[in-house]
Symmetry: C2
Subunit: 352 residues, 2 copies
Amino acid sequence: MPPNPSRQPAGSPRPSPGKVDIRQVAEESGVSTATVSRVMNRRSLVAESTRLRVLQVADRLHYVPTASARSLRNNATMVIGVLVPDLANPVFVPFLRGVQRVAQAHGYAVLVVDAQRSAKVERRAVDVLHAQQVAALVLAGSPRDPVRIEQLRRDGLLVVDASGEIGSAPALVPDLEEPGIWAMCDALAELEHRRIGYVSRTRAHGEAGRRRWAALSSRCRQLGLSAERVILGSSPDITRSSRVLTSVIERPDPVTALVCATHGLAPTVLRALRAADVDLPGDCSFVTFGDSEWAAAFRPTISAVSLDLYSAASLMTTRVLGVLTGSGAGFDEQPAPARFLPRESSGPPPAP
Amino acid sequence: MPPNPSRQPAGSPRPSPGKVDIRQVAEESGVSTATVSRVMNRRSLVAESTRLRVLQVADRLHYVPTASARSLRNNATMVIGVLVPDLANPVFVPFLRGVQRVAQAHGYAVLVVDAQRSAKVERRAVDVLHAQQVAALVLAGSPRDPVRIEQLRRDGLLVVDASGEIGSAPALVPDLEEPGIWAMCDALAELEHRRIGYVSRTRAHGEAGRRRWAALSSRCRQLGLSAERVILGSSPDITRSSRVLTSVIERPDPVTALVCATHGLAPTVLRALRAADVDLPGDCSFVTFGDSEWAAAFRPTISAVSLDLYSAASLMTTRVLGVLTGSGAGFDEQPAPARFLPRESSGPPPAP
DNA sequence: CCCTCTCCTGTAAACGTTTACAGTCGTGGC
DNA sequence: GCCACGACTGTAAACGTTTACAGGAGAGGG
């Protein structure tokens, strides 16, 4: 069975025995299909008595209008697509949840596709979205292949970007994150750290990651701190990571605070530090992007720059739906910016 | 804007300027729409020269067949639905990912709906799934309202349950979980624990949860251990949880090992234990369902019953697609059963 | 009694595909 | 030279909705 993306729906034409269509409802309630349609869409006038009768019949037969027929006729679906760069990353859970909740509340369904960190997979995923004619596309992170998406945007697809806005308005997520980053840098400066290390697996990063590092390093510069990148490499080998980390911590002019670029990376770094017998925060402070119950339960408790992606996603989706339905945005409360949560893992640097 | 689920698609009829349809492709390449369709579906014979010409034109125009028209004609969509009981629970991430990967590889799109732990929301979500005419429905957990879903199943919808199989074949996830549970009980018995506590927020639980407790308690009985439930309550208050936990740990005939019913609950329990100054595993052993990087990074490292939901979901989806496409299952490797990962947090009980 | 106006309803044509059926056009066997 | 046959392609009818348009029925005013 070749995994061919543009195959047609049914292999075998499944019977779908129970499917009831608008005609049956019409017949059963002694009206025309037009009237039934009118009832279902509350759009134009229908006599109250007919309305009730039709509704009753529809309900009895479990009639649900077929989305594909509707979409075909109206050329617009009630589906919004979400493109997630990597579903394995739990960061996207609150995000997805946010999109879900507001979409669902407005009667929209959510089509989730996973790019699996691969440009190729992403392209195919985007094709699926295109074929499904999603009403709008929400990007949960920076796309690997922006060209393809730009194309759709030009073709009239409504796209909202996690780092940019709809169209070319100012960035959302990175802007939200900046206050948290500043607060963290300020706190570290206050504690008299001089060199801080920004730990990530690889040097590459999406647009959001790039801006994160930019915000961090520029704030550090302002404060007279030096910031450097610490690249762990993609090997899962803990001792290798340990070596990388100790090398920056134990050199003559050492890094005294480590900032972990993503929440998912934090446990790995913590294990590596433990393996190297680094005491937190005695030997080195530690901060991570993203918060979680585990970070709060850890010993020592882990300081974090926490961003509420749930409400960011809700906002993005609300905006998209606002455009879609023509109704002005609807919910314009700005989601809270990121905050710095100082906990036990960040403290004064070790005495030299 | 009333959040009405059965509203029709477009508020304002968006232009969708770039949309190219099969007729344009047909015209541009000097054939009929039928031929274009044949080319796109690789179904019946087309002269190689025409095929190439059409493909080239289609590609140049970025033609992608409209899913709704296809679905309407074939009455079958290329979409499979996933009903998640609660997206806030990260347990569903690997699950979703598994469904995604398999579905995507077969050209299917995935529609995710979240029941938000509410029967009402679930019903509306299921209606959406119904309207969207999903080709199959994958349940990521036990539904709150099985009746509604049974109805769809009877109406011909292909449904696969996380705890049951397609139709009424034997259970999948609980069966996978049992070996891990047994191993854990055995290990605790080996260490000479006599009473173990099964910690959850509430007494209620889905079918999978019920079977989890059943497996645990029956195994304990066989081994001569006593197992009891420890209900934390839904209050997020840590000190309250501490009190509940200490009361079972410090009484005359104490529980000496705590098993945490879900992975998401673990950090809370760990905090509560720490707040009560309970030493792990000195004063009490601790095991949780579900594994994560954080559990492995924790100090002490946390023992876990680990189930690979990713492959369970992959399998479920493969089976569903097997039925859908008529082709025999395709991938029949049984996913690995759950394993017990003993780590530092489980050790011998304290001397009486 | 006729006309107009309002309110409600029906008729029928789209929407973009797929596919059964009916060609058309060579080609090769007789 | 005819026929049959195969390979390829076109015609047109569906799929389940929505909606512009037109019509009918009653009410009220003249």
